[in-house]
């Protein structure tokens, strides 16, 4: 759960909204049709792969700073199989949540 005051969350939301807008605007309006170096382009394109993978593992295998192995692992496994088979997101989330909830209930 949140460690800081709700006001800090508001500050973060405002800073994030401003940064996200500036990033979008910078490419579309300021830089125009200039080309970025190929390497830069490729590395930016890899950000989601690196970060999403880290986020999946953090949200499945950790609580705070400790590594744990709990009911979320069942949901994780189910979600991987469902996403692999190209199930729609809502199906993936419902299946994963059911697996985790079921394991907690028994």
């Amino acid at each position: 759960m949140i460690n800081e005051a709700p006001a800090n969350l508001w500050l973060m939301i405002i800073a994030l909204a401003a940064s996200a807008y500036l990033l979008k605007m910078f490419g579309l309006v300021v830089l125009g049709s200039r080309q970025l170096p190929k390497v830069f382009d490729r590395c930016l394109g890899l950000i989601p792969a690196a970060l999403l993978s880290a986020l999946v593992l953090k949200d499945t295998f950790s609580v705070g700073q400790s590594l744990v192995f709990d009911a979320r692992v069942a949901g994780f496994a189910v979600a991987v199989v469902a996403a692999w088979r190209r199930a729609p997101l809502i199906v993936v989330v419902v299946l994963a949540a059911s697996a985790t909830a079921l394991l907690r209930a028994i």
């Binding site: 759960m1 949140i2 460690n3 709700p6 800090n8 973060m12 939301i13 405002i14 800073a15 994030l16 909204a17 940064s19 996200a20 807008y21 990033l23 979008k24 910078f26 490419g27 579309l28 309006v29 830089l31 125009g32 049709s33 200039r34 080309q35 970025l36 390497v39 490729r42 590395c43 930016l44 890899l46 950000i47 989601p48 792969a49 690196a50 970060l51 999403l52 993978s53 880290a54 986020l55 999946v56 593992l57 949200d59 499945t60 609580v63 705070g64 700073q65 400790s66 979320r72 979600a79 996403a83 729609p88 997101l89 809502i90 993936v92 989330v93 994963a96 949540a97 697996a99 909830a101």
Partner: protein, 220 residues
């Protein structure tokens, strides 16, 4: 005319599907401790899915606001590339400067993909704006419904703490198609797992970003 119709239909279909994604964001965000208002503000003003998910995932785990912000901004950085890709047709898509400043808010994965899929300037414009406005509407409606539903139930009991990783897995899949994508994902994941126990919460996500350097040497 039928061409325009085809573009509008595919844009709105995609927008509806994304609305479902927003439902899970709303639920997950309030489960992580944000209020309904804060959750809606994220969708209205940040309006770039992966960043919103990432920010609340770090905050919910007890991470600092700075760490949450850092990871989310890194994920938003690709919108810069989308803006660049769209800028060659910016005049026909958005017209004068005030319009382009307004259009910038809608520069995300989906609008870029659908606009650039069209070859005529006119259809590009239709694709960009129908996807942008349609998706923005569904994204925010879905977020609100999800947030209200999420605050009415006990997230632990319904296993909703798995909503974040499940959504991240779905978002990750397309990036695993390329060899470089798989390398970055494996390295990023490994860096995160290794550093979780000694770095402050959320910082391992920033460390994982260094995995994009696999793209430096590899020329394909």
């Amino acid at each position: 005319m039928s061409e325009t119709r085809r573009v509008v239909v595919s844009s709105l279909t995609l927008s509806g599907a994304v609305g479902i994604f927003a439902l899970s964001f709303g639920v997950a965000s309030v489960s992580a401790g944000a209020s309904v208002w804060q959750t809606c503000a994220l969708s209205l003003f940040v309006f770039t899915g992966a960043s919103q998910f990432s920010a609340m995932s770090v905050v919910g785990a007890g991470g600092s606001m700075v760490a949450a912000f850092g990871g989310a901004v890194l994920l938003a950085a690709r919108n810069l590339v989308y803006g660049l890709a769209l800028s060659s047709s910016a005049k026909s898509v958005a017209g004068n400067l005030p319009r382009r400043l307004f259009a910038a808010h809608f520069v995300i994965d989906e609008t870029t993909a659908l606009a650039l899929a069209e070859s005529s300037p006119k259809l590009r414009k239709v694709a960009f704006w129908t996807t942008g406005i349609g998706l923005f509407s569904f994204w925010n409606l879905g977020t609100l419904i999800g947030a209200l539903a999420g605050s009415a139930i006990d997230p632990q009991k319904f296993g909703l703490d798995i909503a974040f990783p499940a959504a991240f897995i779905v978002m990750l899949m397309p990036h695993l198609r390329s060899k470089l994508g798989r390398q970055a994902a494996m390295l990023g994941g490994a860096l995160c797992l290794i550093s979780i126990s000694f770095l402050p919460v959320g910082v391992p996500i920033l460390l994982a970003a260094t995995a994009v350097l696999v793209g430096v040497r590899n020329d394909q």
